[in-house]
């Protein structure tokens, strides 16, 4: 791809201006919120404490420079080795247009911002951001459905893609496909 710089290129280590601005803002306003961050490379991110997530979300949404007015996607990742689940928020702004310089950047030329939180697998409670970005509603339901992260403080966290009585969360790494569902074989006799 024309936009991608090869691994080891000096530009890979350059900080992403949007992530850097968000990091500075969060560290200034909420000094205890950030757990870890990566501001360069192809996929910069900021990991915050679950209890600070809502405050961070409001901060990046309401800040005039960032204006992250849209929650583009919520994903869940099962880090089984660490016994943790991770909720990943990709945010973007339709109020702010990236300047021409930003568009030429490598390796990340797309002005999104990634916020992550990690919670223990045993108690995967993440506060909802549905009231901050309405669109997070269905994404949170899907993440609950497939990965099993419980979003707290929101209305009806129901399954959305799978049937209501489906056992477990299939995108967890320890999930085993059951042999049958209501007596109907899921895995055919000859195997997958």
């Amino acid at each position: 791809m024309a936009k991608t710089s090869p691994a080891g290129d000096a530009s890979t280590n350059e900080a992403d201006p949007i992530t850097k601005a968000a990091l500075d803002l969060i560290q200034r306003e909420l000094p205890d919120a950030v757990v870890a961050s990566e501001s360069g490379g192809k996929h910069p991110w900021i990991r915050v404490k679950p209890e600070s997530l809502r405050a961070v979300a409001r901060l990046v949404r309401d800040d005039e420079g960032l204006a992250m007015d849209c929650c583009h996607l919520v994903s869940g990742v099962d880090w089984q080795a660490d016994d943790e689940l991770e909720a990943v928020y990709h945010l973007c702004s339709y109020a702010k247009k990236p300047d021409a310089e930003y568009r030429k950047r490598t390796p990340k030329n797309d002005p999104w911002l990634c916020i992550k939180v990690r919670v223990p697998r045993g108690a995967p409670d993440v506060p909802t951001v549905m009231d901050i970005w309405t669109g997070a509603d269905w994404h949170e339901r899907e993440t609950f459905d497939l990965v099993g992260i419980r979003f707290t403080g929101r209305k009806e966290l129901r399954r959305i893609l799978l049937p209501e009585d489906w056992p477990g969360h299939p995108l967890r790494k320890d999930w085993v496909t059951p042999a049958t569902y209501h007596g109907v074989p899921i895995v055919p006799p000859e195997g997958l």
């Binding site: 936009k3 090869p6 192809k42 996929h43 583009h72 099962d78 339709y94 309405t134 497939l146």
Partner: protein, 401 residues
């Protein structure tokens, strides 16, 4: 037919004019609430564009509350993406938004290439843009025609198939498939374009340019079409952005945003094209069903422009990069999005250095585009709900993935 039916029981002088009846019904709905009834539409209903089920609470003809039920077409695309090697997953992407398979492949391959730091030949980038824009034309032609069908205009639906058929033949001739192609692959595209194919493409573009004004005349200039769409299902800027509506829905709400121009991927930064947004100036108000339809019609024109420029600029050379047999990207993450006909498709990959992804996540634009109707459908008439769902142009394969 009952002989006591209303049309025979009332003489013409007693009968109320249709528009007065309509207004009185609205008043009954607002001030004098009648008994509420729960009505199920779908999952197998032509107006829901696939297997969408919507449960509405009605008060007479007015929708008071609405709950879409999705998931009927869930085929575990993400689970499969975490079980098969990257290159085997690409054909599954076709099956998400099956009306825009080339665009899906383009975004998915870009994400995997970015993950694995793969450089692809320049000619392949141009071919990808050409096939993606042809796909956009086909997808929008379908959306334009079917939207007329939703509102009772059967003719444009049949006419658009004439051009759509030619376009599908085009994509068939390079890929071997009519709907699902697996033509764009990791590292480039499957095969080069032939001289014959380029002539065929020219003829197709000319046909689209010739016929599009006819469809616009049949629909957008049509009084009935205008009355069914203008001021109906208004999604304003704030609502669209809050819900994550993208594509024509977002631009119809007045947001001047197109990833192809504002965060250009592939070689889109080398083309000159406009981003239609806001009001059409023909009829209707900002963010209504009419503007969404108009945006699609305008985008077809822009896609023709992009394809012509791409054809003129396209360099000679290979169309596939040399790739190792076993593809194992280094541990890391990518988030890549692209402007599909229906909005922004995004792929999020987490790699642990294996040949399969540790986490494979897709954002289908239709998923967010249909979620918004839970808010905007309150208070509309049932017939207008059909107009609203049709104007969002959803593909359920992409909602459920």
């Amino acid at each position: 037919m009952s002989t006591n039916g209303r049309s025979t029981a009332l003489t013409p002088s007693e009968a109320e004019p249709a528009h007065e009846l309509h207004e009185r019904q609205l008043l009954v709905g607002r001030d004098l609430r009648t008994e509420e009834m729960v009505l199920n539409i779908g999952p197998q209903h032509p107006a829901t564009h696939g297997v969408l089920r919507v449960v509405i609470k009605t008060d007479g003809e007015i929708v008071r509350a609405l709950q879409p039920h999705v998931g009927n077409l869930h085929r575990c695309a993400e689970k499969i993406g975490e079980s098969v090697p990257y290159y085997q997953w690409v054909p599954y992407v076709d099956r998400m938004d099956y009306l825009a398979a080339m665009c899906n492949e383009h975004v998915a391959c870009m994400a995997i290439e970015q993950l694995g730091d793969i450089q692809i030949p320049e000619r392949a980038e141009y071919i990808r843009v050409i096939v993606a824009e042809v796909q956009r034309i086909l997808s929008h032609l379908m959306a334009i025609g079917v939207y007329g069908l939703d509102l009772g205009a059967f003719t444009p639906f049949l006419h658009q198939f004439r051009e759509r058929e030619r376009g599908m033949d085009l994509l068939d001739h390079i890929s071997g498939g009519r709907l699902l192609y697996h033509y764009v692959r990791i590292g480039g595209v499957k095969r080069d374009l032939s001289r014959d194919w380029l002539d065929e493409l020219d003829a197709f573009l000319a046909a689209v340019e010739k016929r599009l004004p006819e469809y616009n005349l049949l629909l957008m200039e049509n009084r009935i079409f205008q009355e069914r769409t203008c001021g109906i299902g208004v999604i304003d800027r704030d609502t669209a952005v809050r819900w994550g509506v993208t594509g024509p829905g977002l631009r119809a709400a007045g947001v001047d945003w197109d990833l192809r121009r504002d965060a250009p991927y592939s070689v889109y930064d080398r083309f000159d094209f406009d981003v239609p947004h806001g009001e059409s100036g023909i009829a209707g108000v900002l963010g209504d069903c009419f503007q969404r339809h108009w945006i699609r019609a305008k985008e077809v024109e822009q896609s023709v422009r992009i394809v012509r420029q791409a054809l003129a600029q396209m360099p000679e050379g290979p169309v596939m990069a040399n790739l190792p047999k076993s593809f194992r990207p280094a541990a890391g993450e990518v988030y890549v999005r692209g402007e599909n006909p229906r909005g922004e498709l995004a792929c999020y990959f987490v790699s642990e250095g294996k040949d399969t992804a540790y986490r494979c996540r897709c954002r289908g634009p239709s998923y967010s585009n249909i979620a918004v109707i839970t808010e905007v459908a309150e208070g509309v008439l049932i017939a207008d709900l059909v107009a609203l769902i049709g104007s969002m142009d959803i593909v359920l394969g992409e909602v459920d993935r």
